[in-house]
Amino acid sequence: MRAMKTIYQFIIKELLQVKRDKKMRVVIFIAPILQLIFLGYAANMDVNVIHTTIYDQDKTSTSRVFSKRFEQSGYFKIDYYVNDYEEVTDLLNMGKTLVAIVIPKDFEKKINRRETIPLQTLFEGSDGNKASIALGYIQGITTAFSKSITMDIKDKLGMKIALSGSLIPEVRVWYNPEMKTRNFMVPGIFGLLLMISTISLMSMAVVKEREIGTLEQLIVTPIRNYQLILGKLIPFTLIGFAVLLIVMVVMTQWFGIVVRGSILFLLFASLLFVLSNLGIGLFISTVSKTQQQAMMASVFAVMMPMIYLSGFAFPIENMPRIVQYITYLIPLKYFIIILRGIVLKGIGFSSLWFETLMLFAMGVTLLILSSLRFSKKLE
């Protein structure tokens, strides 16, 4: 009973500390909300605006119709119409345009003579992803243009039926029919924010006591190690859970992302995730002497790898085998899979049992290992 009371007092002390520190309260509770909102809008890989330059050497009505097609598609913003190659080169070098389309002389003539026109398109390729998406759009436009020309010819010849059979792709996207990246990214950012706040809170809190010397005072008191550890873990679990609830409300209310699956399961998985983060935080605090070290270690050794290798932005399937194995050690990976599964697909434990189990196992192992290490350090 007395043991419980000691732990309880620890919890009160830790919560009071947060309550009294106004700046701390702001960074713990307000910062995640603002970040989720801003970053949620920003994290979008859709390519909507393609800065385009057109060098029309033909200047006939047909070539103008052709370049109009790009404008009408809605993706291309034609910033420059230029009159020589040098300007094209300059714009590409300066990075002012993503693609330059060169319409050759005799464009109209060749079409009338039914000859094939080589159409040169130059890309500023440093962003390979954007360039290949732009190429896809351009292919779509030229294919449609070619088709309308052959149709014209067919009409003139008075042909009714097609020359041959053809295949048409019919693409249907499941779970996220508008292919909104936001629905995919916002749950990811939710995971990132939760990870950052819980790991840094935990690792800093312990190192701080060591740095200012209060930890040694605690060691000479009759408090048991497990009481000390629980007294640190419980309040930060509570705070982490509060952050989680707040961020979840913002995600569903502000962004209107509907949770299709069970909210209870989501909360449970989040709790497991918070616990594994606290384990990591406690571990960092055992290997650092100063808060500066603790922070650098948590950013470079934990947060950055988690951000990059969790599948948040970069698909894990594309990574080399060895790196894919490393991702198995990353709790954020499992949490993001669970989160996206519940929120977007509405699937439950039966499909996500492996990830849940892994999260549970990692949480327990991390907590036990770092607690052991921590109490060893105390002695």
Binding site: M45, N129, I168, M296, Y308, P315, I347
Partner: protein, 376 residues
């Protein structure tokens, strides 16, 4: 004045030199991260897992699938024979795409009709889904073209193709995403090191009370800040050199442009990043708060708002304005211009001015806040 600045710098440098763990983290981890991420991260979607529901079972469907899986883009996982399996495969993420060929595909093709081939794509990852749908569209059209060509050839006719698209990719002919991502990675590593280390080192003096000893000394706040900053500028420059070297050794990213311009750009960027750190240190009273503030202003913004991976033009205009809070945005433009395109200062002088202004504004703010808190 210079003596005093030098004294502070010396003290800080000595403290840093003794903190071997810190130096280890600062110099060693960036290279490890660059190595892992450089290999790991890319947007190139390869080996897309597909399942095939072939209701036609003709030479055409076999040809079509053969064409798909002979490329490195698609891997055939399984054939299925009923509708229910589609949902199970997509739900469990066993495949990313299910291709459905309709029953009488070959009959329709030979009787000159249009046939729809259905592709069901797992859209949870909107970006990958987008790329995949481009691939399957392109694959279908090219197969269709091939079919038409052969069909007409058999009938003794020639096909007319009005436009032959000839794309050329400058600066990055193989469209590798790594070339594009390395500059962003560099900027991110540098800004985090700079902002966190300087802000914490100043706040630590506050927390321990040593700053009050400095306050009663004849040291002015500008001298104090400069003295604190100089060692971190040196560390960050060394860091930048290490990361660049690693980029060259590991990924063959040579510096195409002028080395002096690169140094200048890096220096101005570090000035901006460090003044952000100094500003944070003036408003925070504890290292915990300083760290959280540093994370909020440097870690995620340099990742998400800087144009590193998410195109800034596609963001809503209010957010586009907000992207200016991270110096990484400007530095990435400079780095890409110098490293990838090898162009001169005319391509990025405006970015240098922005960075200079950014640094100046924050250092002024820091001095104002600092003066105010001292007068209290």
């Amino acid at each position: 004045m210079f003596n005093r600045i030098l004294a502070i710098s010396k003290k800080e440098a000595r403290q840093l030199r003794r903190d071997t763990r810190m130096l280890f983290i600062v110099f060693f981890f960036p290279v490890v991260l660059l190595a892992i991420f450089g290999y790991a991260i890319n947007f190139d979607v390869h080996h897309i897992k597909i399942a095939v529901y072939d209701q036609d079972r003709s030479e055409y469907t076999r040809d079509f699938i053969g064409g798909l899986i002979s490329s490195e883009y698609f891997d055939l996982v399984t054939y299925i024979d009923n509708d229910d399996q589609i949902k199970r495969l997509l739900d469990k993420k066993i495949v990313q795409v299910v291709v459905v060929f309709p029953k009488d595909m070959s009959r329709k093709l030979l009787s000159k009709q249009e046939v729809k081939v259905q592709f069901l794509i797992d859209g949870v990852d909107g970006t990958s889904a987008n790329v995949i749908s481009h691939y399957v569209n392109a694959a279908t059209y090219s197969y269709s073209l091939q079919f038409t060509k052969e069909y007409l050839l058999a009938a003794g006719k020639k096909m007319y193709l009005p436009i032959d698209l000839q794309p050329r990719f400058w600066f990055n002919p193989d469209l590798q995403s790594i070339r594009f991502l390395i500059p962003g990675l560099m900027a991110m590593i540098l800004i985090i090191t700079a902002v966190i280390s300087i802000s914490l080192s100043i706040v630590r003096e506050k927390e321990r009370g040593t700053i009050e000893q400095l306050n009663v000394s004849p040291l002015s706040s500008i001298e104090f800040i400069l003295g604190k900053t100089i060692p971190y500028i040196v560390i960050s420059l060394i860091n930048a050199a290490i990361v660049l070297l690693a980029g060259y050794v590991l990924f063959g990213i040579a510096i195409k442009g002028n080395l002096f311009l690169l140094l200048l750009g890096t220096f101005v960027f570090l000035f901006a990043a460090l003044s952000l750190g100094v500003f944070i240190s003036t408003i925070a009273d504890s290292q915990q708060v300083a760290f959280q503030a540093a994370i909020v202003t440097s870690l995620l913004p340099s990742f998400i708002l800087s144009g590193f991976i998410f195109p800034i033009e596609s963001m809503p205009s209010a957010i586009q304005l907000l992207t200016n809070i991270t110096p990484a945005k400007f530095y990435i433009v400079i780095l890409r211009a110098i490293l990838l395109r090898g162009v001169g200062i005319s391509a990025f002088w405006d970015q240098l001015i922005f960075l200079g202004m950014f640094g100046f504004v924050f250092i002024m703010l820091a001095i104002i806040v600092d003066k105010k808190s001292k007068n209290k």
